[in-house]
């Protein structure tokens, strides 16, 4: 290790308490920053994972969410007959005509009501979405009042467990299975037979239609044809794009709130680091004078003190990332502001977040250390030596 770096490092060890407090302050700010990014990343990952790249979702033109959308049976038949749609093992096109309805259900812990999304799906729903599999119990039978629940719902709502019944739309619905949708948004939904659900909710239209393409490159041609068809008032989007768009509102809010908070906190941490570094410079004026007298240029002194501030930031960052990694075990449930249904997701720590947090910490360290380092570098040698 270069001697000057080792000198900076050892000086950090000299003022343990001050440096510990400064690094802790930085760690907390970096932790808040990382946690916000992790929250946002978890939300996006959950919603993006909901969409499959080879799937297309069709909703009524300008409907942003499925509950705003209506597609009648005549339009559904036209869509069903498109050649780009993959044909399943049973010879039928892989298409799921779906209805999405929100119901209010009481949460088990808080006893407060929250929105649950009931999705009526077609017989090919599992073939259209291979990421969804039955994890416990069995799939509902077509034409019955059976439903299956997403794994994120289990235990969170009253009566939402295998074997019990839910009452909505003037009927009792028996829960026969629990599905695992790989951490996607479907995990927070309840699925049943679309025709049964439409009847119960007295609807004669679907909310959306999801189709699986035989070849993902067929999207542009299919989209162009469907959107140009005067009989149809629909819009085609890749399923992934559709769900990405659903994350924007909440994601934007999380980012704005979180980054504003971390921005304000970071101001405090930078001031803390500045005070610490000013104290370090003041207590080492003699050393600065000696180093300059020995021939160390101003730039080297500047770097030495900046390195010290950056090392403090680095320690803060390491602690923050350690704490943040523990957050990956925490599951969050919140209302998706776009779909208005409850969504469960986890804090997700990605290499990008680790890197961004590092840059954030180093910027704080740099800002905190810059003015004291400049002061040290600009000090007149004779004045600095006089302190001794």
């Amino acid at each position: 290790m270069p001697l000057l770096l080792s000198y900076s490092l050892r000086n950090l060890q000299e003022r343990k308490l001050t440096n510990f407090l400064t690094a802790t302050g930085m760690a907390l700010v970096v932790f808040v920053y990382a946690a916000v990014l992790m929250l946002d990343s978890g939300l996006k990952q959950t919603l993006v994972a909901t969409g499959e790249d080879t799937n297309i979702i069709l909703v009524r033109r300008s409907a942003e969410v499925e509950i705003q959308s209506m597609i009648d049976r005549r339009q559904a038949r036209i869509i069903e007959s498109q050649p780009e749609i993959m044909i399943g093992a049973e010879g039928a096109p892989l298409i799921s005509k779906e209805v999405a309805v929100l119901i209010s259900q009481q949460r088990r812990k808080s006893r407060q009501a929250s929105n649950l999304l009931i999705r009526g799906v077609g017989p090919a729903a599992l073939a259209v979405r291979p990421q969804v599999r039955i994890a416990e119990g069995r799939m509902f039978r077509q034409g019955s009042n059976e439903i299956v629940i997403g794994r994120a719902l289990a235990g969170r709502f009253e009566d939402v467990e295998i074997g019990s019944s839910l009452r909505f739309a003037q009927r009792d619905w028996r829960i026969v299975g629990r599905f695992d949708a790989g951490g996607s948004g479907f995990d927070s939904e309840i699925w049943g037979d679309s025709e049964q659900l439409m009847q119960s909710f007295r609807r004669d239209f679907f909310s959306s239609i999801t189709v699986r393409l035989a070849d993902r490159s067929g999207f542009d041609a299919l989209k162009a044809r469907l959107e140009a068809d005067p009989r149809l008032t629909i819009e085609a989007k890749r399923e992934r794009t559709f769900y990405e768009e659903q994350s924007r509102l909440l994601s934007g809010f999380i980012q704005m709130l979180g980054l504003t908070l971390s921005g304000m906190f970071s101001l405090g941490a930078v001031i803390g680091a500045t005070i610490t570094m000013y104290a370090a410079v003041a207590s080492r004026m003699m050393e600065v004078g000696v180093l300059r007298a020995l021939g160390f240029r101003r730039s080297r002194i500047l770097i030495a003190f900046l390195v010290e501030a950056l090392l403090l930031a680095l320690i803060g960052w390491a602690v923050a990332i350690l704490l943040a990694s523990l957050m990956t075990q925490v599951k969050i449930t919140t209302l998706n502001w776009t779909s208005l249904s409850e969504l469960a997701f986890r804090f997700v720590l990605t290499p990008g977040i680790v890197l961004r947090s590092l840059v954030f910490a180093l910027i704080m360290g740099f800002l905190g250390g810059f003015l004291p380092a400049v002061r040290a570098a600009r000090m007149k040698i004779v004045d600095a030596l006089r302190v001794a």
Binding site: L3, L4, S6, V290, R292, G295, R298, S299, V382
Partner: protein, 243 residues
């Protein structure tokens, strides 16, 4: 001991440091306090010069100017033929690294570095590799009799030992001139004697040019020449030859 007037000392033979019409003043509030006024004198190569004078006479200022850590208001300071007052800040730093070794009154060692690392510090400014730096630092410490204290922190050494480490740090780059500001001012008599003997040895055996500021006549007696400053004037030169 012979007392001669300053004009008699300018022989021009083998001059290492030449000060010409050097003036220096400090600002104290609104007041400008002159410290050195049109000072002209030479220091010969391999000389061991003691600068004496009362407090505020300007002897430390003169030492700082010779060492290139302060700059005069007027005049030139030539060291080895090079006018250091014309050097830009960064080049002056490089010049100091190559040409000046410092010995301070309070040793001024880096408290977090070991004796060996303190001595090695100036060598980090050279192109030497780590192993060679360590070897040279070891050698410098052995020259001051501290081979067995290389891993000690300054706080684990006595004042005399710390000053010896400082001397090792000053000579490790083999500088042109050693400047010492009250090198024995913080030491007991025995340690002061040891330090001065080392400095004498460096001058006598290794030909090091030494400029030392001191209040102590006993310390000055170790030098080859003594100069007295009175209110910024080198009024008298006291030349003393060692037997």
């Amino acid at each position: 001991m012979t007392v001669v007037h300053i004009s008699e000392a300018r022989t021009g033979e083998d001059v290492l440091i030449a000060l010409s019409d050097v003036s220096k003043s400090y600002r104290r509030g609104a007041q400008i306090v002159p410290v050195l006024a049109k000072l002209t004198f030479d220091i010969r190569r391999k000389e061991f010069l003691a600068l004496m004078g009362p407090s505020g006479s300007g002897k430390s200022t003169m030492l700082n100017l010779i060492a290139g850590i302060d700059s005069p208001d007027k005049g030139s300071i030539r060291v080895g033929g090079e006018d250091i007052t014309l050097l830009p800040e960064a080049e002056l730093a490089d010049w100091r690294a190559a040409n000046v070794g410092f010995i301070f009154q309070f040793y001024n060692l880096m408290p977090v570095l070991t004796a060996l690392e303190n001595v090695e510090l100036p060598l980090t400014l050279t192109s030497l590799g780590r192993r060679e730096r360590r070897d040279r630092a070891q050698l410098a410490l052995s020259l001051v009799g501290l081979s067995d204290r290389v891993k000690h922190l300054p706080s684990e050494l006595s004042g005399g030992q710390q000053q010896r480490v400082a001397i090792a740090r000053a000579i490790v780059t083999d500088p042109t001139v050693l400047v010492a500001d009250e090198p024995t001012g913080d030491l007991d008599r025995q340690s002061a004697k040891e330090v001065l003997e080392i400095m004498q040895r460096l001058n006598r055996d290794m030909g090091k040019t030494i400029v030392m500021v001191t209040h102590d006549h006993r310390a000055a007696a170790h030098a080859k020449r003594i100069m007295s400053l009175e209110k910024g004037d080198l009024s008298y030169l006291v030349e003393q030859r060692l037997e």
